[in-house]
C-alpha cells in the first residue's frame, strides 16, 4: 500500500510534501516514476514534432506548387523560347528581361533557392545555347554569389551543395578556393572538390591524380568519369602516364577505364607493363583494357602468362582473346574448352571461340558432336543470339 500522502502535508506546502513523499518510495518505484514522466513527455514531444514537421512540409509543398509554375513560365518564355536563340544571336547579345526574374517573391532566400534548383535542373536536361543562356541568367541574377557564399559555410554539406551548383552551372572556381578542399578529411567534400577541379580548372585539371594517396571510391569514379567525358573544353591527357607512375591502385584502374573510353592506343605499352604487377585485380583490369583496345600485339604474351594466373585473370585473358578476334589462338581456346575443369573457363573459352570469326564452322560442329552433354550445352549457349552473357 502507498503511504498516506496527507501525513506529509502537515507542515509543508504541496510541492515539498510531494518531494518527501517521493523520497520515501522504494528506489524501483522512484525510478519508474521518473521514467514514466520522461516517457510521457518524450511521446508528447514526438507528437508535437510530427505535427510541426507535417505542417512545415505542407507549407513547403504548397509554396512549391504555387511558385514552380511561375518559375517554369518565366524560364520557358524568356530563356528556352527566347527569340534570340532561334536567330543565332551570340549568347551575350541576346535580350534577357532580367527584371522579370527580380520579383519580390523570388528575392526571399527560400524561394531564391527554389529558383536556383530549377535553373540547375534545366541546365542538366538542356545543353547547347539553351544551357548557355541559363548560365547567363544565373550570372546576371547574381545567383553565383549565393552559391559561393555556401562554399564559405562551415558546414560541409553546405559547401558541397554550393560546389555542386557552381559546377553544374559551369562556373569557374579559383584554384585557391578549391585545391585545399581536394584534400579535405571529409570524403564527400573531397570528392566533390576534385570533381569541380577537373571540370573547372584551366591549367592542369588532372593535377590531383599525381598526389592522391587514399583510394578513389567507385562512387567517386563514376562521378569523375561522367565529368571527364561530358565536359567539352577539357584537355584529355594521356592516361598512360598514371598507369606507369601512380602508386595508387584505384587511380591506375580508373585510368585504364579512361584509356578504353578514349581508345588511347598508344597506352598499350604502359598497360602491358602492368601485367607484371603483384596485385591480381589490377592485372585483371589491365588484361580487360588490352582486350577492349584490341591490342593484338599483347595476345601472345597473354597466352604465355595464362597458366601462371589466378582464375579472374585467366577469365579476363579468355575474354580478351575473344575481343581481339585475331584467329591466332583457336587451338589454345579449343584446348581450354576441352580440358579445363572449371566451368567458367570452359564457358568463356567457348564464347571467345564462337566470337572469333576465323573459327572454322567444322570445328564448332565437331566440338558439338563429340562433346559431353555439358560442353554441348555451353556451345549452344554461346551461339544463341538471345543470350548475352
Amino acid at each position: 500500500m502507498f503511504k498516506d500522502f496527507t501525513s506529509y502535508l502537515q507542515d509543508n506546502n504541496v510541492l515539498t510534501a510531494l518531494y518527501y513523499y517521493f523520497l520515501d518510495l522504494p528506489l524501483v518505484i522512484e525510478v519508474a516514476c521518473v521514467f514514466i514522466l520522461v516517457a510521457l513527455s518524450a511521446t508528447l514531444l514526438a507528437y508535437g514534432s510530427i505535427l510541426v514537421r507535417r505542417y512545415r512540409g505542407y507549407r513547403q509543398d504548397k509554396k512549391e506548387t504555387d511558385l514552380l509554375p511561375v518559375i517554369d513560365q518565366l524560364l520557358t518564355e524568356h530563356v528556352v523560347l527566347n527569340e534570340g536563340l532561334a536567330d543565332n544571336v551570340p549568347i551575350d547579345d541576346i535580350e534577357l528581361p532580367i527584371e522579370k526574374f527580380r520579383t519580390k517573391t523570388l528575392r526571399n532566400p527560400a524561394n531564391r533557392q527554389l529558383l536556383i534548383d530549377r535553373i540547375v535542373n534545366y541546365k542538366k536536361s538542356f545543353a547547347g545555347s539553351i544551357g548557355d543562356l541559363l548560365r547567363r541568367l544565373y550570372l546576371e541574377l547574381e545567383l553565383d554569389k549565393v552559391s559561393f557564399r555556401k562554399m564559405k559555410s562551415v558546414k560541409w554539406n553546405r559547401k558541397v551543395q554550393g560546389m555542386i551548383e557552381l559546377t553544374d552551372m559551369d562556373m569557374s572556381i579559383s584554384d585557391v578556393n578549391i585545391l585545399p578542399l581536394t584534400n579535405s578529411k571529409n570524403r564527400e567534400l573531397r570528392a566533390e572538390a576534385r570533381n569541380a577541379y577537373i571540370k573547372l580548372s584551366k591549367n592542369e585539371p588532372f593535377k590531383f591524380f599525381d598526389v592522391v594517396t587514399e583510394p578513389l571510391l567507385m562512387w567517386d569514379q563514376i562521378e569523375l568519369f561522367k565529368t571527364i567525358t561530358t565536359t567539352e573544353e577539357i584537355a584529355i591527357p594521356k592516361f598512360a602516364r598514371w598507369v606507369t607512375y601512380s602508386p595508387n591502385k584505384s587511380i591506375v584502374s580508373f585510368c585504364l577505364k579512361l584509356i578504353v573510353h578514349y581508345n588511347q592506343q598508344d597506352a598499350a605499352h604502359a598497360v602491358i607493363k602492368l601485367l607484371d604487377n603483384k596485385d591480381h585485380n589490377l592485372r585483371a583490369d589491365a588484361i580487360n583494357c588490352l582486350g577492349k583496345l584490341r591490342c593484338e600485339e599483347a595476345e601472345p604474351h597473354l597466352v604465355e602468362i595464362y597458366y601462371s594466373q589466378p582464375l579472374n585473370c585467366q577469365l579476363e585473358i579468355l575474354k580478351a582473346i575473344g575481343r581481339m578476334d585475331t584467329g591466332n589462338q583457336i587451338q589454345f581456346l579449343r584446348h581450354e574448352f576441352l580440358h579445363s575443369s572449371d566451368f567458367d573457363i570452359r564457358k568463356n573459352a567457348a564464347k571467345s571461340l564462337i566470337k572469333t570469326r576465323a573459327t572454322p564452322k567444322s570445328l564448332v560442329d565437331e566440338l558439338i558432336e563429340t562433346g559431353t552433354a555439358e560442353n554441348k550445352l555451353i556451345l549452344r549457349h554461346c551461339m544463341n543470339p538471345l543470350i548475352k552473357f
Binding site: 516517457a39 554539406n157 569514379q221 568519369f225 544463341n384 538471345l386
Partner: protein
C-alpha cells in the same frame, strides 16, 4: 532463488530499455548522415556510366499467376542501366509459366550454368525473342518447397556480381537498385556484403499496375500493427545497428548481396525457416573466417512494399515460422556466441539476438506468470505493480512513437496528418493485443523447433513458403 530470478529479470529489463534508448539515438544519427549524403548525391551519373556494377534481380514465384505478368513488367522498368531480372518459377501448378511465355514472347534456350549452390533440378531456362525483354530470364524448376531453394537456383543462373533478392509479389520503388548499390560503391575500406532498405505494408496503399501511387497506413488493425512494427524494426532498429556495423539481418523481401560471398558461404539454406537471416549470419561468419573486413549497410528509405497477412491465422503461421527460424539459427550458430573470433558479431549481434530476440518471449511469459502468482499470494504491492506496468507501457509507446517521428522527419510519408495520427494510435493497443500474440506465436515456433525434429522435415515444410503464399492470396481475395 526468488531473489536471483527477480534481480536477473530486473537487470534484463534495464538492459533492454537501455538498448532501445541507444538504438533511438543511433538511428537518429544514422538517418541524419544518410539524409545529408543522399540529398547531395546525383544518382543520374550512374545511369550513363560504364563503371556502374551490374545487378541480377532474383524473384522466386510459386503460383503467382494472378499477378505475375504485371509484377515482372514492373521489375523490368527499374531505373538502372545494367541489370537482369531472373524470375524463378518454382514448379508452379498454375499457368504462370505459360502466361510468361506468351506475354514476353519467350522460348526455351540452351542455357549453360554451373550449380555452385545446391538447388532442385532446373527444368528449363527461357529468354525472350523480343529484344525489348532481353533483360528477362525465366527459370523453370522443380518445386523445392522453399523460397530458399528457388533463390539458390536464381543465384546459380545470375550473371552479375551482385544480386538483389525479392519476392515476386513485392512492389519495388523505381530507384531501388540505384539506392541499394550506392552504399556498396562508396565504402572506403570494407567490403559491403549486403545492403538493405525499409520494407512497408502494401495493404491499403493505392497501387496501379505494380506502382505505388499513394502510401497509406493499413486500414485494418492487424496489418497496421505490422506497419508500425516494420517502421520500428527498420527505421529505428536496423538503422541504429547499421551505425555500428552490426545489422542483424537483411530482410528477405528486399536485399542486395555480394554474389561471390553468398555463394562461398553456401547460399540460402532450404532447411531453414528464416533463410534470409540465416544467410546473413553465415555470410558474416564466412567473412570472419576468411579475414574479409566486411560491412552490412542499411538505408532508411522505403524501397519495398509487401502484402502483410491480414488474418490472425496466417499471421500466426508467419510468426511461428520466423520464431522457428530464429531458434534454428541460434542453435546452428551457437558457437559464435561470445566467441572472440567473430568480433562484433560474436559480442554484440549474436548475444543481442540470443538474449533479446530468442529469449525475450520466454522471459516475458515466465515474468507474467510469476507476477500473477506473486500478486495472488499477496507478495507484491498491487499499486507498485501497476506503476511498473504503466512504465513499461509508456516506454514502449515512446519508442514506437519516436520511430514514427524519425520516419516522418526524414521522409514525411503518407498524405495527411490524420493518417499519421491513425498510425500513432496503434502503439497504445500493441501492448494488449499485438504483443501477446507475438509472444505466443514465438513460443509456438520454439515448440515446433524442439519437437519438429522428431517429425519428418517434409511434413513441416509444407507450411512454408509455398502454402503461405497461396493462403495469403486467398486471404487477400477475401
Amino acid at each position: 532463488m526468488q531473489a536471483v530470478y527477480e534481480s536477473t529479470v530486473f537487470v534484463y529489463g534495464v538492459i533492454l530499455l537501455i538498448i532501445y534508448a541507444l538504438l533511438a539515438i543511433m538511428s537518429f544519427v544514422a538517418i541524419k548522415i544518410y539524409r545529408r549524403r543522399s540529398s547531395l548525391a546525383s544518382y543520374e551519373n550512374m545511369l550513363g556510366s560504364p563503371l556502374t556494377p551490374g545487378i541480377s534481380v532474383i524473384a522466386p514465384a510459386y503460383n503467382e499467376g494472378l499477378s505475375i505478368i504485371q509484377n515482372v513488367r514492373s521489375l523490368l522498368t527499374l531505373n538502372y542501366p545494367k541489370f537482369e531480372v531472373v524470375l524463378v518459377n518454382d514448379g508452379s501448378t498454375d499457368n504462370s509459366l505459360l502466361q510468361l511465355i506468351e506475354a514476353f514472347e519467350m522460348e526455351k534456350v540452351d542455357y549453360a550454368y554451373s550449380i555452385k549452390i545446391r538447388c532442385q533440378k532446373i527444368k528449363g531456362v527461357y529468354k525472350s525473342r523480343n529484344s525489348a525483354y532481353s533483360r528477362l530470364i525465366v527459370i523453370d524448376k522443380v518445386n523445392g518447397k522453399s523460397k530458399a531453394d528457388a533463390s539458390n537456383a536464381g543465384i546459380n543462373v545470375a550473371s552479375y556480381d551482385y544480386f538483389v533478392c525479392t519476392d515476386v509479389d513485392c512492389i519495388l520503388s523505381k530507384d531501388t537498385l540505384l539506392k541499394l548499390i550506392k552504399p556498396v560503391t562508396e565504402e572506403p575500406s570494407k567490403r559491403v556484403i549486403a545492403a538493405g532498405a525499409t520494407l512497408r505494408i502494401a495493404n491499403s496503399c493505392d497501387i496501379e499496375e505494380g506502382v505505388i501511387l499513394r502510401m497509406r497506413p493499413p486500414r485494418k488493425l492487424l496489418p497496421r500493427f505490422q506497419e508500425m512494427e516494420y517502421i520500428r524494426a527498420f527505421v529505428l532498429g536496423k538503422m541504429g545497428w547499421s551505425l555500428i556495423n552490426c545489422v542483424p539481418n537483411v530482410s528477405g523481401g528486399l536485399g542486395l548481396f555480394d554474389k561471390e560471398v553468398a555463394i562461398k558461404a553456401g547460399g540460402y539454406d532450404a532447411q531453414s525457416f528464416g533463410e534470409d537471416m540465416e544467410l546473413m549470419v553465415r555470410m558474416s561468419r564466412y567473412a570472419y573466417d576468411n579475414q574479409i573486413d566486411y560491412a552490412i549497410r542499411y538505408i532508411p528509405e522505403t524501397l519495398c512494399w509487401t502484402e502483410a497477412p491480414n488474418t490472425v491465422k496466417i499471421f500466426m503461421r508467419q510468426r511461428t515460422r520466423w520464431a522457428r527460424g530464429l531458434a534454428q539459427l541460434m542453435y546452428a550458430h551457437k558457437g559464435m556466441l561470445f566467441n572472440p573470433r567473430y568480433g562484433k558479431a560474436g559480442w554484440v549481434l549474436m548475444p543481442y539476438n540470443f538474449f533479446f530476440e530468442l529469449l525475450a518471449p520466454l522471459v516475458e511469459l515466465t515474468g507474467i506468470v510469476y507476477y500473477i502468482v506473486q500478486l495472488c499470494r499477496g507478495e507484491i504491492n498491487p499499486e507498485y505493480a501497476i506503476l511498473l506496468l504503466v512504465f513499461v507501457y509508456m516506454y514502449s509507446i515512446m519508442i514506437t512513437t519516436i520511430a514514427i517521428l524519425w520516419d516522418q522527419l526524414a521522409f514525411r510519408h503518407y498524405k495527411s496528418f490524420r493518417e499519421v495520427l491513425l498510425l500513432c494510435t496503434t502503439p497504445f493497443l500493441e501492448f494488449l493485443l499485438y504483443h501477446p500474440m507475438i509472444v505466443l506465436f514465438s513460443i509456438r515456433g520454439y515448440y515446433y523447433f524442439l519437437t519438429g525434429k522428431k517429425h519428418s522435415w517434409g511434413n513441416m515444410q509444407r507450411q512454408g513458403f509455398g502454402n503461405t503464399t497461396v493462403q495469403r492470396k486467398v486471404a487477400v481475395q477475401q
